[in-house]
């Protein structure tokens, strides 16, 4: 048995369409079977509500008098991108306010615009014969704009990683706050409600598909950037008219020490054209698998610890290395359900119709890493020999070594050669000033270290973040095998 878009739309028009959410569809298929479900159900609605960092909006302000051609412009202090026509701009959600970064960003500007709040617009120009005005300083609201188009190159990821942290310090990431030593885990995505999980082969979701976007109507306009269908990591390029949207579904956010973004509500209706689509939309959380990834390793290829499914993730606890770890979502299941229900009501009331895609999304493409022409240097390429002293050495001895070797950092080891601390020339100076005699009193025991195979950029960041100038290089047994200081990084 098959149905066409026209037949489904006719039913919607007559108020006869049977619409259920992707969660409800699971029970229907379980109870009635795929054949009956395909006959009875016309549309399955999906929804997701999470951080979508690629998002932004194209805005057109209209001409000032005399006219201005913006060179730079700011909206509530957030620098907007201007490399297009005179009074157009793109405000990106991760761009942060110049004066209060990590608090307010482009995502908040979009939320404030949709909330009808006045937005401070300041712009400057180098001036031309046709655009003589040098500066604009005004307040605008959404109503004052000619066009305000939410335009997001990568939204609605099919699924996403579950993040954990094996390192010994708290990490602040785009996956939220990750406690050390696998202290917690975070994930993203609505599982069985996720739009692309219900149409994993992109049969009904394609270019031109009408969708719920930010509380208004939007469209899929192509594959998302980094669309990775062969790994079931598809994404969508979407647009919609901000003027129809609601601030309930567009929320500016800031992730501590990471930056700003926006949470967007997105829902897609799936027409049940045949049994195939009935089967696909009955996907359960346990059928959607993802990987637990260690964000403690700040490399492109992060270690995968194991596979996990969304049922386990939604349960609140997962097991990692025999230990129970609390897991929670960054995206909102509450909002995802609300969106799927809202879309369901729109269709039931005859306010929203379905359309076939003008073109299907790519199903074979792969996502490539960045091509870099410079070869990555590692710590082992630039490290030097470490100056090493023993825990029992006298402060005098250490001081002599510092002078002899002309090196500010001395690694302190025990009988087994294990790193126990670090002493700098400043520590020695202070020891003299404070009249300290014993080495163990003056060493820094909590040493920030690096390893041979760490990229030098990561070693450099460790020094910058911790405000230090040297890192002992250690092997897996904590034995000292070298030293890297800011000097080597400068000369690299």
């Amino acid at each position: 048995m098959t149905k066409t878009y026209e037949e489904i739309n006719k039913k919607i028009e007559n108020g006869e369409a049977v619409v259920v959410t992707a969660e409800e569809m699971i029970n229907i298929v379980e109870q009635k079977g795929i054949k009956v479900a395909a006959e009875e159900i016309d549309v399955v609605t999906t929804g997701t509500f999470g951080a979508m960092c690629s998002s932004g909006a194209f805005l057109n302000f209209g001409d000032s008098d005399p006219p201005i051609k913006f060179e730079h412009l700011w909206l509530n202090g957030v620098h907007a991108y201007h490399g297009n026509a005179a009074v157009d701009c793109y405000i990106g959600v991760t761009r942060m306010n110049d004066k209060s970064p990590f608090e307010y960003g482009g995502g908040h500007v979009i939320e404030d615009l949709v909330s009808e709040k006045p937005i401070h617009l300041r712009g400057t120009s180098y001036t031309t014969d046709c655009y003589p005005k040098e500066e604009v300083d005004t307040y605008i609201t959404l109503d004052d704009l000619n066009q305000a188009i939410l335009c997001n190159p990568r939204n609605a990821y099919q699924r996403y990683n579950c993040a954990v942290n094996s390192s010994n310090r708290t990490l602040y990431t785009y996956m939220g706050k990750l406690l050390p030593n696998f202290g917690n885990a975070t994930f993203s995505g609505a599982g069985c409600l996720n739009p692309l999980c219900n149409d994993p082969d992109y049969e009904t979701i394609g270019i031109g598909t009408r969708i719920f976007l930010g509380g208004g109507i939007g469209y899929v306009i192509g594959e998302g950037t980094q669309h990775n269908p062969t790994k079931r990591l598809g994404s969508l390029f979407v647009k919609g008219n901000l003027k129809q949207m609601s601030a309930n579904y567009l929320k500016g956010v800031n992730f501590e020490k990471y930056g700003t973004s926006i949470y967007i509500g997105l829902g897609i209706p799936i027409p049940i054209l045949n049994e195939n689509m009935a089967r696909k939309t009955s996907i359960k959380d346990e059928d959607i698998k993802t990987e637990i990834v260690d964000y403690g390793i700040p490399r492109r290829k992060k270690p995968v610890l194991k596979e996990v499914n969304y049922k386990e993730l939604k349960s609140g606890t997962i097991e990692i290395k025999g230990k129970k770890v609390k897991v929670s979502s960054l995206s909102s299941l509450f909002m995802a359900r609300k969106i799927a229900n809202e879309l369901k009501i729109w269709i039931e009331k005859g306010k929203f119709f379905l359309n076939p895609p003008a073109e299907r999304l790519p199903r074979e493409t792969v996502f490539k890493p960045m091509k870099e022409v410079k070869t990555q240097k590692f710590v082992k390429d630039i490290k030097k020999q470490a100056i090493i002293c023993h825990l029992n050495d006298s402060i005098n001895n250490v001081a002599r070594k510092i002078i002899e070797e002309n090196e500010n950092h001395v690694a302190i080891i025990d009988d087994d050669g294990i790193l126990k601390g670090i002493v700098t020339s400043f520590d020695i100076t202070r020891a003299i000033a404070e009249n300290k005699k014993v080495l163990s009193e003056i060493i820094t025991k909590k040493v920030i270290t690096t390893t041979d195979d760490e990229p030098i950029d990561i070693a450099a960041r460790k020094m910058r973040v911790n405000n230090i100038n040297g890192l002992p290089v250690i092997d897996k047994y904590m034995r000292v095998i070298g030293l890297i200081t800011s000097e080597e990084l400068l000369l690299k």
């Binding site: 602040y172 939220g176 956010v253 609390k326 929670s328």
Partner: protein
Amino acid sequence: MTIININIPVRIIDSIKDYAKIIQDVVKMNISFDILKFSTTPKGITLIIDVPSEKVSQINEAFKKEGIIVERKSTVCVDNELCIDCGACISLCPTGALHLKNNDELEFTKEKCIGCLICLDSCPRSAIKET
């Protein structure tokens, strides 16, 4: 009950006996309390204890005599207007004070909050505040 934070600097504690003595002094005051968190750092010992509200000042004075720093421990509150029920805070909460109701809606049970404040900087909407 009131949650207070006690910092015992390292110079006061030479051995575990000193710690036991301090606890005994409190026990002598006939006050029962719950230890919610016990942590040691190079700077000393930190105790987060839950005591009957009317005994706070008595404990306060007893500890201050010993050179121990006592602070009223703050807890957090969640601004429901700002909260978007994402759950970014939940996996960080050691006691389950922050949890989901009906599997999807954020609920905060103040009685369970021990004021560890780990969640404070985790909220993307800045909806969690110290009280």
